[in-house]
């Protein structure tokens, strides 16, 4: 100050210095990640890579502005360090854990035992409380015999086992679908709590977007799991169909050729593109943007206050 440099210039210089330090770290990190993507990644990964670098630059900018704002506002340097340490700890370690745990405290998922028992109940029992398998089996045999115009299962021109497996699989799938959808809905409610609390610090929002861009978030896991389930169902349907067509009556033993197995396409999964990944995290991007705005506003206000104090 004695040399005639104003507080704004000092803060501007410090901001530039801090950003330069952050930039060195960010560039080194970007180079290492670039090598990893180049060696291991797919073609679409460069778009995700770019998104990640922009995100990390924004996140670093939020902290640089916060550090400078606090430094300009708090007079004692030891208090500044203490406040910044507390802020960083709260944002990085405390807030994510609180946001993660509060959703579970409010919305509780069932235990494995409760979940399994509920599925088992719905598989084995009809809505009226009577056993599912007896009624269903009786009805299926009756309907099948009628549709093929025969009086015994042994006389069926197709394999009854295939028909039975198709029916029971459809029932199991319906029950599993119902319970897993309920579970996913619980997870989504917990996630909404998490999102609502992501404003507690910039770290949670940055981490969520980072996970999304890297393809390790809940949305990607669900997309993959749905694709795998669709494939499983097609595979089971094809096998049941082969049993139905390839056997007769009560026959169970079926030998299929190599051509049959080769006719079933291999499981292929296409990772969604970067735009889809970013679209899943619009809220968190908004939160991060708000933090950037807040940090910038706080920095400007602190700089003004510092200038007034000096005058």
């Amino acid at each position: 100050m004695a040399t005639g440099i104003g507080p704004r210039q000092i803060l501007g210089g410090k901001a530039a210095a801090l950003m330069s330090i952050a930039a060195v770290i960010l560039v080194a990190k970007a180079l290492l990640e670039g090598v990893a993507v180049w060696q291991l990644g797919a073609s679409g990964d460069w778009a995700r890579y770019t998104c990640l670098q922009v995100l990390h630059a924004v996140y670093a900018a939020v902290w640089v502005l916060l550090v400078l704002g606090v430094s300009a506002r708090v007079r004692s340097s030891s208090k500044t360090s203490a406040v910044l340490l507390a802020l960083w700890t709260a944002s990085t370690f405390v807030a994510p854990r609180i946001a993660g745990s509060i959703g579970r405290l409010v919305v509780r998922e069932p235990s494995v035992e409760e979940f399994r028992a509920a599925i088992q109940h719905d598989i084995s029992t009809r809505e009226d409380g009577t056993p599912w398998v007896e009624q269903w089996s009786k009805q299926l045999i009756e309907d099948t015999l009628k549709s093929y115009n025969v009086s015994r299962i042994e006389d069926l021109p197709v394999g009854y086992a295939g028909i039975m497996l198709k029916g029971s699989d459809a029932h199991y799938e319906e029950v599993f679908e119902k319970h897993f959808q309920q579970l996913f809905e619980l997870h989504r409610t917990q996630e909404r709590w998490h999102l609502a609390l992501s404003g507690l610090g910039p770290t949670m929002a940055a981490r969520a977007v980072s996970q999304g861009v890297a393809g390790t978030d809940l949305a990607h896991a669900e997309d993959f799991s749905n694709a795998a389930e669709r494939y499983r169902r097609k595979f089971v349907e094809a096998t049941n169909d082969a049993i139905q067509k390839g056997t007769k009556g009560t026959g169970w033993d079926l030998r299929v050729s190599r051509a049959y197995w080769e006719s079933i396409p291999a499981f292929r999964y296409e990772t969604p593109d970067a735009t889809w990944a970013v679209r899943q995290h619009v809220w968190e991007l908004g939160v991060l943007g708000a933090w950037l705005g807040l940090a910038a506003g706080f920095f400007v206000l602190s700089a003004k206050r510092m200038a007034e104090t000096v005058r």
């Binding site: 004692s76 340097s77 030891s78 500044t80 360090s81 203490a82 340490l85 507390a86 700890t89 370690f93 405390v94 994510p96 854990r97 609180i98 946001a99 993660g100 745990s101 959703g103 579970r104 405290l105 509780r108 998922e109 069932p110 235990s111 494995v112 035992e113 409760e114 979940f115 399994r116 028992a117 088992q120 398998v133 089996s137 045999i141 015994r152 299962i153 042994e154 009854y160 086992a161 039975m164 579970l183 619980l186 997870h187 917990q190 996630e191 998490h194 996970q211 809940l218 896991a221 009560t250 026959g251 169970w252 033993d253």
Partner: protein, 472 residues
């Protein structure tokens, strides 16, 4: 005593202290609520699993007198010993579980005893929660108690230095070192007291415990005092030796970050690098290889068993009855077709399971040795040991499950290979697995207690030399 009263009065007028204590109290209560909730969820899981087991088996035993006569006949030995009729063993949970680190409370305490391979099922929780880490009592005392002590003691000691009143203290007090020590000891003791009382409350709120459990809780509280002591001593050292209060907080902040985050993470990484995890894919591939071309392998598999147990060979009548096609069902009720491959699969994957168990114990052993590097890891391991959630406890329990499973195979295998349907008497005499037992030994926690003691002693020795700095 007068000095204590005086310093207590000064502390009670300090706004920063009230802010730190207030925030810490809120976080402590929230962490306590989470721990109690987790412990209660585990208690409920154990209760649900045990009552489900009892009900299933009562139904099975009743149904043995009234068989349904279809291919889902519950008298079939392979069905009874199988995936829907498994027995259950559990590791009991008492109130002290609330003191355990949250990660340990995520581990299921229920295991299936079955003649088929039964892996413990993962919890159905949202993947977001474990990704962020648990916020429980253990997190608060392991991570935030040190931070509370460091900031509160720094404020108490360095405030006078920063505002220039410390020279007055040096001039007026008969012993400025005692004043400085009191300024560190008082807030540290108060924060420790809050934590210890909350810990006791958490144990009580989680259903209480036995006299032995309360003894372990007392050991936890005393060890927590040592842990708090390590951080208070570190604070004395940094505040005495640092060139300025700002330098002191930077040193303390860095030490905290290194101790709670960097060193434990490095210990984990080192342990995993030295003892790499067993590839689960290898286990699955081994099991799949055994299941391939089953029809060709089946006679050899069953003959191998009959060679070892000639008295298990069924009569031709029993074979004819079992292989008679059932209308609307499979061509055969020959349980050996299901059990023989399952037995081979269990045997085939056993080496991987054993390697995996050995690896877990090796990591535990290595981590406990490396805990010398961090009082945080030492206290975490101590809390796990006292709460009955350590790897050692789980390993003992897994061994009990293995023994019970072997007894289960011993009961069902002869009946399956003899192609005998189970009678009501058989079902009544199925070996009931014993309830798991939490066995505690002082030896389990001696090592972490020793580490904490060494840390305390080493820091006290270092601090002793730095104390004269407070005379300036």
């Amino acid at each position: 005593m007068k000095a204590v009263r005086l310093e207590f009065g000064l502390l009670s007028r300090e706004t920063a202290w009230w802010t730190i204590a207030g925030v810490y109290a809120v976080l402590l209560l929230y962490g306590c609520a989470q721990s109690v909730d987790r412990a209660s969820a585990q208690q409920k899981q154990v209760t649900a699993a045990s009552s489900d087991y009892r009900e299933r088996w009562e139904r099975l035993r009743r149904s043995a007198n009234a068989p349904k006569g279809t291919w889902s006949d519950t008298r079939s030995a392979s069905l009874v010993g199988g995936p829907n009729s498994f027995a259950v063993m559990w590791l009991p949970v008492d109130g002290t579980a609330a003191l355990s680190p949250g990660e340990s409370l995520r581990r299921s305490r229920v295991r299936q005893v079955s003649i088929y391979k039964a892996e413990p099922e993962p919890p159905l929780e949202n993947p977001l929660i474990p990704a962020a880490g648990p916020f429980d009592l253990s997190f608060v005392v392991l991570w935030l108690l040190p931070l509370g002590i460091l900031t509160a003691t720094h404020t108490a000691v360095s405030a006078s230095r920063e505002n220039g009143t410390w020279p007055l203290v040096v001039l007026n007090a008969t012993n400025p070192i005692r004043v400085a020590l009191l300024r560190v000891a008082l807030p540290s003791a108060l924060l420790w007291g809050m934590s210890a009382i909350t810990g006791l409350g958490a144990v009580a709120a989680s259903g209480g415990t036995t006299a032995d459990g309360w003894g372990r809780t007392a050991v936890w509280a005393v060890s927590l005092a040592m842990y708090a002591g390590v951080w208070a001593t570190a604070s004395v050292w940094a505040n005495a030796r640092a060139a300025s209060p700002a330098a002191a907080i930077r040193v303390l902040g860095t030490a905290w970050l290194a101790a709670v985050w960097i060193v434990p993470a490095l210990i984990d990484v080192t342990a995993c690098a030295i003892v790499p995890p067993v590839n689960r894919l290898e286990t699955h591939l081994a099991a799949r290889e055994l299941e391939r071309d089953l029809d060709e392998k089946l006679p050899a598999l069953t003959e191998r068993v009959y060679a070892q147990h000639p008295d298990w060979r069924p009569t031709p009548e029993a074979v004819a009855a079992a292989t008679k096609p059932i209308p609307g069902g499979p061509a055969s009720r020959d349980a050996r077709r299901v059990y023989a491959p399952a037995l081979a699969s269990v045997e085939g994957t056993r080496p991987f399971e054993e390697r995996s168990a050995q690896r877990t114990m090796a990591v535990e052993s290595l981590t406990s040795r490396l805990a010398v590097l961090s009082p945080v890891v030492a206290f975490q391991s101590l809390a796990d040991g006292l709460a009955g959630t350590s790897i050692t406890h789980f390993a003992r329990f897994e061994q009990e499950v293995v023994t019970a499973t072997e007894a289960w195979h011993g009961f069902f295998a002869p009946r399956i290979f003899l192609l005998r349907d189970l009678t009501a008497e058989d079902l009544a005499s199925v070996p009931t697995p014993p309830g798991g037992q939490l066995k505690f030994s002082l030896r389990d926690v001696l090592w972490p207690v020793g580490i904490l003691t060494v840390w305390c002693a080493a820091l006290l020795a270092i601090v002793g030399r730095g104390l004269p700095a407070f005379r300036r």
